[in-house]
């Protein structure tokens, strides 16, 4: 939906939430609103806009600007409408002679200290101060004395002396400027930083005339302060004081298209604000149900990669990977690819080629890529990057509850009393959800963090975890099972829920299992490193603290027992009756924007769209009759199996859309060897990524700004992605897959992604009701969306579990084979950082590198001292798989015996070190535990140098003659 900029109405304050309705009269118009609503909001709902400056409906009312004054019959004075709640029968006047005079006086004071450079101001046309000056009819400013004393905007006073009140612009943040001279001290930015983002980086320093917005201390600028660059303050600012640099450079936008962020699994809705086909800025969309008008530095600002000169815009091919690339036409590239793929199949058999679908692409694109494997290659060799992140979630929740998805929507966290965060770092990985979580924690909800590392949430301004369980990497199952043991042993389970909703036989078996004293926290302490008493207290809090929600991330899934931990988490929620109610549930935080969608769309080699195993005749028949082919009833290869099969010689061709397997998959040298053994690797991406160094065909991809489609976020919400500019390389990704199918001999004939969604709806029961028309009307829907739930399903398992009865399953702890020992005494675990995303292909090509320009190895001071490592030193990190070097950062965030790094930079090659261990059920790699040794080093390892030389050679392009 394209909405004119003026359609995003700011109603000044939030609507009351009371069920009691109140009727009042505003300027002769009757209006009915919930009790607790402000007069300003009520007036706005009656289409009366009371002048305002410090009020915005993203924030709580503040009442400082004195512009929104109203008169109320039978009451004295002129109260501010933003802070005065409505009352039944109230008669309000918003425009009287007295009010007009007062407002004009207030505005005159504001303007007396404001530079009148409106024509050259970045906010010209988009300035609330300007609007209000117009609204109150300000025609004159009489206060010359202000200039004599020293305004906030003149460098010198009228006597020609330096003006001590003048502060220069702070341009340290790469994305927005802070110009103190234009500030009206309405505190909207400070309140946004507190209330919406929860970082508390901004404050008002000084009093009276000295009052200034200040980031951090007086020695800080925006960049050096705690500011996380989420943009909430910029959005809140009514003037040009805080303004996007892109608006300064380009000018104001002229139209706005609602779309969905292409970064993490929160799936924030944004307005892409455009001028012509130039993107001016991304502003979080207030009606977006995942983010409710908030954003993080990635979605809000880090979109510059879409225009980066590194983007490859022409298809390229080469016969061998040691040759330079040759730019060719689309026809030639696709013909070359199709011929090779067919040749491999002719030689090695039908099951010798496959695809990797992208969790960054749209549902429609993902659906087509798996359709290419199943309907054109005629095998099930399709997998997706979810393999290496959340595949255990699919397995574990499927086995226990019957669906491979989280149970709640994000709004649910507003009702949680206890929040258990396991193996997730929301403030870095899922920042917008973290802000919503922190808001609830500030209201008093209790937090339990289970993580080897002291993540920010453990202690951050106005938030402190009740319990932090710093477990040894690889012992999640032991901790979760011990929690269940405490709950059962102390009789804290919700027996009524269990009796009504869960399979009795399975529960009896589980009860016997979990009651065994070998699962007691005291017995497990040796293994987990978590003090038994802390664990007991955490378990009691989770079981008895009210509505308890679990949020978990890849620290749960990326283990040899990832699926078992997911099952253990599902058990915990069933045990305490925390399923099917607001504020509770089991919530996987998905890594990429469309991990949920790519799983839903049948990207896994064993299941068709909608999680139906390929062995089932009835499921295959639906697609067979529609596609006119026979679908292979045998499961295909998973990503790690593809690599192994390639080294065997039984797998030779891969179409890889939007994933950089060389950088993101574990045991890089194994991946590289496998790719080098293949005859046709097709990379479909925006950039020449690491995988393309081993590719024979490069097909240019399109960014999320260049195509229509949908993403499905972690709460099963299907959000529209809307094209705001033409694909720079001519085709959207779905068109490229369709062209490849055509080159292989199968015509699909889609003319728009909506037709692909129609096919998905027609074949996949949980999507049966989804159409682009419905998404247009509702904004978004959460699957299942069908005849029973025509408007989607915000919460799952409300009346009963999807599989019928909830199934408890035993979760025996099995230690990973990856253990520390004399040779490799430390345990490496990996994660990510706020400003960078995944392999960094996007964020490294933005100004976000100012916050994180290299991966560092976090090491405990004790371990560092033992090894003679100082902060910032180069260190070598070695495992049985390989070794690499990076610089050390000494911190007690990690316990002694544990080291931590991110994997955002290809030069670091963190995955050279990680091993090929994987989850027992899904082969999801065990990224989170690698036994390593760390030693001081002089510089890059041999591998890094060889790799870097090879990468440079492999990226050579022979440009086609003009």
């Amino acid at each position: 939906m394209t909405i004119p900029l003026s359609r995003t109405i700011d109603r000044g304050t939030k609507r009351g939430t009371s069920e009691t309705m109140v009727t009042l009269t505003v300027d002769g118009t009757e209006v009915t609103v919930p009790a607790g609503t402000s007069i300003m909001r009520a007036a706005s709902e009656a289409e009366i806009a009371v002048p305002k400056l410090c009020a915005t409906d993203m924030l709580d009312a503040f009442g400082s600007c004195r512009l929104c004054l109203v008169e109320i019959e039978g009451r004295n004075g002129t109260p501010s409408s933003c802070t005065t709640p409505v009352a039944d029968g109230m008669v309000v006047h918003t425009q009287t002679d007295r009010l007009k005079k007062l407002r004009k006086g207030v505005m005159e004071l504001y303007i007396s200290d404001h530079p009148l450079d409106c024509l050259t101001c970045a906010a010209n046309g988009d300035c609330e101060l300007q609007d209000m000056a117009g609204a109150v009819g300000l025609r004159d400013v009489r206060y010359d004395s202000v200039a004599e004393k020293g305004t906030h905007f003149q460098i010198r006073n009228t006597a020609g002396e330096n003006n001590p009140f003048y502060l220069p612009k702070d341009q340290s943040n790469p994305y927005f400027d802070y110009d103190p001279s234009k500030c009206i001290v309405c505190s909207r930015c400070v309140r946004a930083c507190e209330e919406v983002q929860g970082t508390f980086a901004l404050t008002i320093a000084g009093r009276g005339w000295d009052s200034r917005v200040s980031a951090g201390t007086s020695l800080d600028d925006m960049l050096s302060s705690d500011c996380v660059s989420c943009g909430a303050c910029v959005q809140a600012c009514p003037t040009a004081t805080l303004v996007e640099k892109s608006v300064v450079e380009i000018g104001t936008p002229e139209r706005s298209v609602v779309t969905t962020c292409a970064y993490c699994g929160v799936g924030c809705s944004f307005e892409a604000q455009m001028r012509g086909d130039e993107l001016v800025r991304m502003v979080p969309y207030k009606d977006g149900k995942a983010n409710r008008g908030h954003s993080c530095v990635k979605g809000r600002f880090a979109y510059g990669y879409a225009e980066h000169p590194d983007r490859i815009l022409s298809p390229m091919i080469r016969d061998r990977i040691d040759e330079p690339w040759r730019e060719v036409s689309w026809e030639e590239a696709l013909g070359f690819a199709a011929k090779r793929l067919k040749g491999i199949q002719a030689e090695k058999g039908r099951r010798s080629i496959g695809v990797i679908t992208s969790s960054r692409c749209t549902n429609e694109e993902t659906y087509l890529v798996q359709k290419l494997a199943r309907g054109v290659f005629l095998n099930n060799n399709t997998d997706t990057c979810a393999r290496v992140c959340h595949s255990p979630t699919g397995y574990g929740l499927g086995q226990t509850y019957g669906t491979s998805a989280g149970t709640q929507d994000f709004d649910s966290v507003e009702h949680a009393d206890v929040v258990l965060v396991i193996g997730a770092n929301p403030t870095d990985g899922h920042p917008v959800f973290a802000s919503r979580l922190k808001k609830r924690l500030r209201q008093g909800a209790k937090l339990i963090v289970v993580d080897p590392r002291r993540i920010d949430l453990v202690k951050t301004p106005h938030v402190e975890a009740a319990h932090h369980l710093p477990l040894r990497p690889g012992t999640n199952v032991a901790v979760v099972t011990a929690m269940a043991h405490v709950i059962v042993a102390e009789g804290l389970q919700d027996q009524a829920f269990i009796d009504e909703r869960c399979d009795a036989e399975a529960f009896a078996d589980y009860l016997e299992f979990v009651s065994d004293p070998r699962h007691a926290p005291e017995a497990m302490e040796e293994v987990t490193g978590v003090p038994a008493e802390t664990l007991r207290q955490a378990a009691r809090l989770y079981a008895t603290g009210g509505r308890a929600a679990i949020y978990y991330g890849l620290g749960v899934t990326e283990h040899s027992q990832g699926s078992t931990t997911v099952i253990g988490i599902a058990n915990l929620a069933m045990l305490t009756g925390n399923v099917g109610i607001e504020g509770a549930g089991v919530n996987p935080l998905r890594g990429q924007n469309n991990v949920q969608g790519s799983c839903d769309m049948g990207s896994f080699p064993h299941e068709l769209p909608g999680y139906r195993h390929v062995k089932h005749d009835d499921a295959r028949e639906i697609f067979e009759s529609r596609w006119g082919v026979k679908i292979d009833p045998e499961p295909g290869l998973r990503i790690p199996n593809m690599f192994d099969a390639a080294l065997d010689g039984s797998f030779g061709g891969l179409y890889c859309q939007g994933e950089d397997i060389v950088q993101s998959d574990p045991d890089t040298s194994h991946v590289v060897a496998a790719l080098s053994a293949m005859d046709c690797v097709i990379v479909h991406d925006l950039f020449l990524n690491e995988t393309s160094n081993y590719a024979h065909v490069f097909l240019p991809g399109s960014s999320f700004l260049e195509k229509d489609g949908t993403f499905t976020n972690a709460e099963r919400r299907i959000n529209r992605v809307r094209r705001v500019m033409a694909p720079r390389a001519r085709y959207a990704d779905w068109e490229v897959t369709q062209l490849l199918a055509a080159a292989m001999g199968t015509e699909w004939g889609y003319t728009h992604p909506s037709e692909i969604m129609d096919e998905i709806a027609a074949t996949t029961p949980s999507f049966a009701g989804v159409t682009y028309g419905l998404l247009e009307e509702k904004g978004s829907v959460q699957w299942p969306c069908n005849e029973v739930h025509p408007e989607g399903t915000p919460m799952m398992h409300v009346e009963g579990f999807v599989r019928g009865k909830g199934r408890f399953i035993r979760t025996d702890y099995v230690a990973t084979e990856e253990r520390s020992g004399p040779r490799y005494p430390l345990l490496l675990t990996t994660g990510r950082i706020l400003s960078q995303y995944n392999v960094g292909a996007q964020t490294r090509r933005t100004a976000n590198t100012i916050w994180h320009d290299e991966d560092r190895l976090e090491i405990n001071p004790h371990d560092a001292e033992n090894r003679g490592v100082r902060d910032g030193d180069w260190v070598r990190i070695a495992s049985r798989a390989g070794e690499t070097t990076l610089r050390a950062q000494i911190t007690d965030r990690v316990a002694a015996g544990v080291v931590y790094t991110t994997f955002h930079h290809p030069d670091t090659q963190a995955n050279v070190v990680t091993t090929d261990n994987s989850d027992w059920a899904t082969n999801c790699p065990e990224y989170k535990v690698t036994a390593v040794q760390v030693a001081p080093s002089n510089g890059p390892s041999d591998w890094q140098e060889r790799y870097s030389d090879h990468a440079e050679a492999a990226r050579r392009i022979d440009y086609a003659a003009e």
Binding site: G398, H613, H616, D617, N641, D644, V802, R803, S918
Partner: protein, 97 residues
């Protein structure tokens, strides 16, 4: 694929299944998991390797599951769906109707 790797993967599945009290369920669960999630060539290589090499460190349950592993040939011209072994019901019945 390397036999050691396949056996290692099977052993991991076995360790999970072995915690079940019902031995038949454990055995069927192990076989069903491999049949449901392993590509035919992996199953073939696995069965060939384990049945021909007694020294491979396969767990007892893994060895006992060998006869339950379904084998199909690459050149099979898309045979009809094999019957589901017990214990491998579809994960989500709701998605099936």
């Amino acid at each position: 694929m390397r036999p050691e790797k396949l056996v290692g993967m099977a052993n991991q599945i076995s360790l999970f299944m072995e915690s079940k009290t019902d031995r038949d369920e454990a055995l069927e669960g192990l076989a069903a998991h491999i049949n449901d999630f392993w590509d035919p060539r992996m199953r073939r290589q696995f069965v060939d390797a384990v049945s021909s090499d007694d020294d491979l460190p396969a767990r007892d349950l893994v060895r006992r599951a060998l006869p339950l592993i379904r084998l199909s040939r690459e050149d099979d011209d898309l045979p009809g769906a094999p019957k589901s072994p017990a214990g491998s019901e579809p994960i989500n019945p709701a998605h099936r109707d």
